[in-house]
């Protein structure tokens, strides 16, 4: 040590000074306008130019869509008489119900609403903070909810097994809500009250057993209560409109991730057979247009199934769309997997985690989080792509829109239904995109 050391008492003591609150710059509306739009000569010119252009472009559209539009009429003729160059929203309004529900009987449409209401009810707990084991609720939704929805939408004489599953779904939903209510009331979960009894039977499975027992009991109760309820049969070819679009794209969106994850993991697998199978599936499906896949699903799929299995067009289409969506999602997920640094695998392994634990606890949560924008983008495009099913004769929202123009009262009404559908789709897709941004912010953990 060469430098001379001073005794500690002579050193000045460093104390960090207190922090100040951050500087906030505020200016009112006029201030904002002056700063951002009219900052200088060229800024002002640009602003004026852009706004004039917008006016020139938007004025005719707004005239047509709003100022000269007809909202009430009973035929297209009447519309044209009232305002020859305005939109005829009356036709869309008359047909609105069909755009949403297809040809589902008017008197029974409450069942569609009820079915979707149950779906929403199932999603609510996923958004509540104190709810635990959300992943199980989510998985149960994927497994059980389709039976319930199918039962409500389709009605008629279903097999007992199907009925049991529907009751199981209701039972699970009820159990979930009872538990939530108990937790909010500061009590314990329902199943925990039963546990002490069951611990005499089997210590290890007491928890699982008591949960299952509660579920069974609730399901049986619900089954007995609903014993006399008979729902009129509504055949699948009467389903249509936005309702059908949501069913198909709902399946595609929900199944895309699991299928995509499995295919993506398969593609990185060290077992050749699994790897080849995954690569073949992904590449085949991705290099064929969606329309072809849809046609093939309707014409060729029956060849692969034994005659005894009664396929319906909707099920075939859903299967095809799910595989299609899954193959695309696989590549998105693979991109996410590749973005994970190798050190994460090392760390997981050094903690002792095996392949599945590593993937599902460490790698996939990070990969999926990094991929949220891409995943939601493909959700949105799946939602829009499902409108292609009108080509194979399913009465989804697009086919219903085309039907308006061949209705004898509204003959030739082409543009208005399409504009209306665009607006509807915009709101749904914009909602999804906003949700994804919210999710991204919420899950951000690095700052």
């Amino acid at each position: 040590m060469t430098e001379t050391q001073r005794p500690a008492t002579e050193l000045k003591k460093f104390v960090p000074r207190p922090s100040r609150p951050p500087v906030v710059v505020t200016y009112g509306v006029t201030g904002w306008l002056r700063k951002h739009l009219f900052g200088g000569f060229w800024d002002t010119m640009l602003t004026v130019a852009v706004f004039s252009l917008l006016y020139v472009l938007l004025k005719p559209f707004l005239d047509w869509a709003l100022f000269k539009a007809v909202w009430e009429a009973s035929t297209r003729r009447e519309c044209l008489d009232l305002s020859p160059d305005g939109a005829c929203w009356a036709g869309v309004i008359r047909w609105f119900n069909n755009l949403i529900y297809g040809r589902y009987p008017n008197a029974l449409q409450w069942r569609v609403n009820l079915g979707f209401a149950f779906g929403l009810l199932w999603l609510v707990p996923l958004a509540l903070k104190p709810v635990k084991h959300k992943i199980i609720i989510g998985i149960m939704a994927v497994v059980l909810y389709p039976f319930l929805a199918d039962y409500i939408f389709l009605g008629g004489d279903r097999s007992t097994l199907h009925g049991m599953f529907a009751c199981l779904a209701l039972g699970y939903l009820a159990l979930t809500y009872i538990n939530i209510a108990l937790v909010y009331a500061g009590k314990r979960q329902l199943s925990l009250y039963l546990e002490p009894l069951l611990e005499r039977v089997s210590m290890k499975y007491a928890d699982l057993l008591s949960q299952l027992l509660c579920l069974m009991a609730l399901s049986v109760l619900i089954g007995m209560a609903l014993h006399d309820v008979q729902l009129t049969h509504v055949p699948i070819d009467r389903w249509g409109g936005l309702f059908l679009t949501i069913i198909i794209s709902g399946f595609a969106i929900v199944m895309a991730l699991p299928i995509g994850i499995l295919l993506a993991l398969g593609r990185r697998s060290e077992m050749p057979v699994i790897r080849w199978f995954s690569i073949a599936t992904i590449e085949l499906v991705r290099s064929v247009p969606m329309i072809t896949v849809l046609f093939m699903s309707v014409t060729m799929m029956p060849l692969f199934f034994p005659n005894t299995i009664d396929l319906n067009k909707l099920a075939q289409v859903i299967l095809a769309v799910c595989i299609f969506a899954g193959a695309y999602m696989a590549e998105t997920v693979r991109g996410g997997l590749q973005s994970i640094p190798i050190g994460q695998f090392d760390a997981a392994k050094s903690v002792g985690l095996g392949y599945w634990h590593t993937m599902f606890l460490i790698i996939l949560p990070q990969a999926l989080k990094a991929m949220i924008p891409n995943i939601v983008t493909s959700f949105i495009s799946m939602f829009k792509d499902t409108t292609l099913v009108s080509i194979i004769g399913l009465f989804d929202i697009m086919l219903m829109a085309r039907n308006i123009s061949i209705d004898k009262n509204w003959y030739g009404l082409h543009s208005e239904p399409l504009v209306a559908i665009s607006v509807l789709f915009f709101f749904i897709c914009y909602g999804m995109s906003q949700y994804s941004q919210y999710l991204e912010k919420k899950l951000k953990t690095d700052r």
Binding site: Q344, D346, A347, S350, V351, G352, Q366, D446, R447
Partner: protein, 261 residues
Amino acid sequence: MIDSPVQKRQDKQPSKRVAIQIEGLNKWFDQFHVLKDVSMDVMENEIIVVCGPSGSGKSTFIRCINRLETYQEGEISIFDHRLGNDKNSAVLIRENIGMLFQSFNLFPHLTVLKNCTLGPIWLRKIPEKQAIEKSMALLERVGVADLASKYPGQISGGQQQRVAIARSLAMAPRIMLFDEPTSALDPEMIKEVLDVMIDLAESGMTMMCVTHEMQFAHQVADRVVFMSDGEIVEIGPPEQVLKNPEWDRTSQFLKHILSHA
């Protein structure tokens, strides 16, 4: 370089039990021969410091011990159990060996506490409450208990590395491997991590530590291994290897790092 007097633990009883036995280890990356006939025994409670120039295969060597790397020839045994590709080996490694990395490698999507409880809950099936208690105690021990609910991206490097130590300790290993745990850190943080490591060494952990912190080597190492070009050149007590090396390569390397320390 500060030549402060080093206090060395004198009370330590050398153990007779072999913790890690490495025999004739050879490894190739394609054509490149990274490890050449590496053999050594590590006794229980022994502290080994591995040093050597960059690219000499230090990381590869200690990564072979917990099978983060595969090797083509040779044998590694942990407490007399020969490691292979089987399930038993995986369990044995998981129950006995913890590892620390230069880049910390905490799981960024989990809080500090969850990083620690993950292994105990999912692998040892310890009830959550108990796992949290134990992890909090460990975080306390490494001095970061107040950060339990933070995410790794929100804390400093030194704190991250100490959390990584707690995460390893949560699995109650008997052997800890360190791959340059302090080389991504500022001097002040190096000290806080080294202090924890010294504390670990004194608690009787078997440690194998790739590091260039010579002060640490003098203070706690029982033996120092000097590697170069995939070979163990010299192995012996720190006073011998670091002060009176037998080989020119060793003394050359030591001169090099001493002039930079």
